[in-house]
Subunit: 440 residues, 2 copies
């Protein structure tokens, strides 16, 4: 197929979806890196720009390196404004310079302004390609205006009503315009109670607004309420996945990163892992001291050591279950900070139920299957029930405390709770053992 | 504010957003459950239906119980078709009967058909309120048709071109229609290469299509390619969060559930937790046997027990990091099943790096801070490095194996990997201890 039949290929490509072509290029890149540029050059320039915006940063860089100055400029011109900004952010400085040299002064100023919005802010998500209307327009005039100006806008389905100083006075959906009488004024039917955000708001808050109000797009305003850009839902879907990935990573004791796993080098991946592993390892040496302190108990009854892993694992799992539910509940807005007493009371009752069930099963198992002595079976089962209760209370409290301290609750997940709960489990275990086995 | 000033309140409400009113009702419900119905009755019926669709299932049930037959019917009539189906699915059977008694035969048939689509399928997400066009219409006729019929449609921004047998021939966006010349035929400008799904497809696959192609809506067709409904992006945002929650829960050894934490009883919550805790607890007794088998090693050098918790925690964390990255990579489509050798090789190199660093820090710490003997420090550090490597290889492999066996990779997360890795860590530990300390 790849054998010089360029014309047929080109025809095939023109009918394909940009997302599929991007996928094709990524796949071809793995085996025949040289062919990617050939494929890319076969595309007409609007489609090429569209495909380009779907490519991974690595692949974008590869293609930029092989394109001529003119071709590159054509692609960049065709990109949507927000894709253009994303692209410039991903490229090395020399490529950015090359591109900025070719644009008009006004555009360069605008691009620089956008490049300066902090990562993960509303400003970094927005585009300037929106339709603006005036409130004295009639519906017919507004529709005519959209027809004349809509072609290169990111969306025409929501239009923004601005006054002479670009202050946002209202929004109106294309749906409302289409269904309204031609002679009505925009001012009469526009929605004046506009939900908006500012350039420096965090993208997570922006995503929450979209979810809460089922929005398709959201205006971004400055401190004087002047419209500076809009954010559309397609970018928000990516933000939601990104925020979820960040939570998954934090909950697994990883430093978050935006790079894809397969495209990241091992040193970077190792660095994201070593920090928390070191912290947790050193915290875990605390347990070493506890066991050291109870060495006499342990040497009197060595077999006590046998149950330590099971006790620790179960306590860790129990705490992890609770903290995950609470972290997720906070992230989705289902659990409020004021609910902490309710959470504690709920977790206490659940943990008593769960703790007693686990302890009973374990007690029977130890007596019947492991032939343990009654005293040891009681010691282990009692410890199990108590540590499950403690683990669930900690698992319920720590994420809420973190949130109150303006930290991300996600760091209070499995790994940290396991370390804390393990130490407590050992203290409980040896104290109960000492009492029941009469070692003191 | 709640003191009989109903007229002023009503005016306030009419200007508010439905999502905010729903939030208000949920809050009022916590303190004055009786007031919720009063608020709700103050709303005009289209707003009431809108607010209603934002409420939690519990709150919907409460309000339904207090409404008169007629009021209930008014609300149900105003609901969007997909919200109506969701509502009926959430209500107890007697309410559903009450409602179905009042609708026409045709509608009841349709509702029953929709209620029969399996949960989490494309069919359960779709709505029938779309705009259909014919391909011989001109752009002007199509726009006129949209103006006449668009008012009660879920979206008018994508229209569906059907033939006489309701077969889907193409789609066309309102944007294209607005920007096109009036005299063009729909057939000339419609998009014939339509991405669609079928009623029984899983909602996760549907969400992936939306993400991949940046869709706003997606047609659902039957086996004969006839259009049966459409799915819109606002429902997909909820699906994405739901699928992520499910993964979080599975990864924390919880049985997934759709109910909100605060509204779920403790018995149900306990049941979701006990299953995996029991399975994992019983698997962990495997470690008991291992320690039992090495009891002579342990009683010779009791202090060996002191390092067990640290070794197990670190191995568990290391495995957890990797499995989380791989599970997430698979879920987002960044890691393919064919990549398993690359993943293994990558994880091997990373784990060697990370393992050596952790072991070195631990070695120095044990010698300098804990005053351990050289032999013990070597035993523990060597075990640490080896178990970190094993943990990361297992963490990388198990999710991919699960996916190949058509299981959800998310179950191969922290808890399960910790249990497996703990057992391995102990075997390695005692064997190394036996060799280095010359106990055999």
């Amino acid at each position: 197929l790849e054998e010089k039949k360029y014309i047929q290929l080109r025809e095939l490509f023109i009918e394909a979806k940009a997302a599929d072509l991007a996928e094709l290029i990524e796949e071809v890149a793995e085996e025949h890196p040289n062919n990617t540029t050939i494929i890319f050059r076969l595309l007409p320039k609007d489609l090429a720009a569209d495909v380009f915006s779907y490519l991974s940063p690595t692949q974008k860089r590869n293609i930029v390196d092989t394109l001529h100055e003119n071709q590159l400029r054509n692609i960049v011109e065709e990109l949507n404004f927000d894709d253009k900004i994303d692209f410039l952010e991903e490229m090395p400085a020399n490529v950015v310079k090359r591109i900025l040299k070719r644009v008009t002064d006004d555009e360069r100023k605008l691009i620089n302004q956008f490049l300066n919005y902090p990562e993960f802010s509303a400003g970094s998500l927005m585009t300037i390609e929106y339709v603006s209307l005036k409130k004295e327009m009639t519906v017919a005039e507004a529709l005519q205006h959209i027809r004349m100006n809509g072609i290169d806008k990111e969306t025409i389905y929501t239009c923004y009503v601005l006054n002479e100083t670009r202050k946002l006075e209202g929004i109106i959906s294309l749906r409302k315009l289409i269904l309204a009488d031609d002679h009505l004024k925009v001012a009469e039917i526009m929605d004046v109670d506009v939900i908006s955000t500012t350039t420096l708001d965090d993208q997570e808050e922006v995503a929450d607004l979209f979810k809460k109000y089922d929005l398709m797009s959201l205006p971004v305003v400055d401190r004087e309420d002047r419209l500076v850009g809009i954010i559309t839902i397609d970018d928000i879907v990516d933000v939601i996945e990104q925020e979820n990935t960040e939570d998954f990573e934090k909950m697994a004791a990883l430093l978050p990163s935006e790079e894809e796993y397969m495209n990241t080098g091992i040193f970077l991946l190792a660095r994201r892992r070593i920090v928390w592993l070191l912290v947790l390892m050193i915290s875990a040496t605390f347990t070493e001291n506890i066991i050291g302190r109870f060495e006499d108990v342990l040497s009197a009854v060595v077999i006590l050591a046998a149950a330590i892993p099971m006790l620790m694992d179960t306590a860790g799992n129990a705490g992890n279950q609770t903290s995950t539910l609470i972290i997720r509940g906070i992230a989705l807005g289902e659990i409020e900070l004021d609910d902490y007493l309710k959470v504690l009371w709920k977790e206490f009752r659940i943990s008593v139920l769960v703790g007693i069930m686990l302890a009973s099963v374990n007690f029977v198992r130890m007596l019947l299957v492991s032939n343990a002595s009654l005293a040891i079976a009681i010691t282990v089962s009692l410890t199990l029930a108590l540590t499950v209760i403690m683990a669930k209370l900690f698992g319920g409290m720590l994420p809420i405390i973190a949130k109150r301290m303006k930290l991300d609750p996600a760091i209070m997940a499995g790994p940290l709770i396991t370390t804390i709960v393990d130490a407590m489990a050992l203290v409980v275990y040896f104290n109960i053992a000492g009492m029941i086995l009469g070692l003191y």
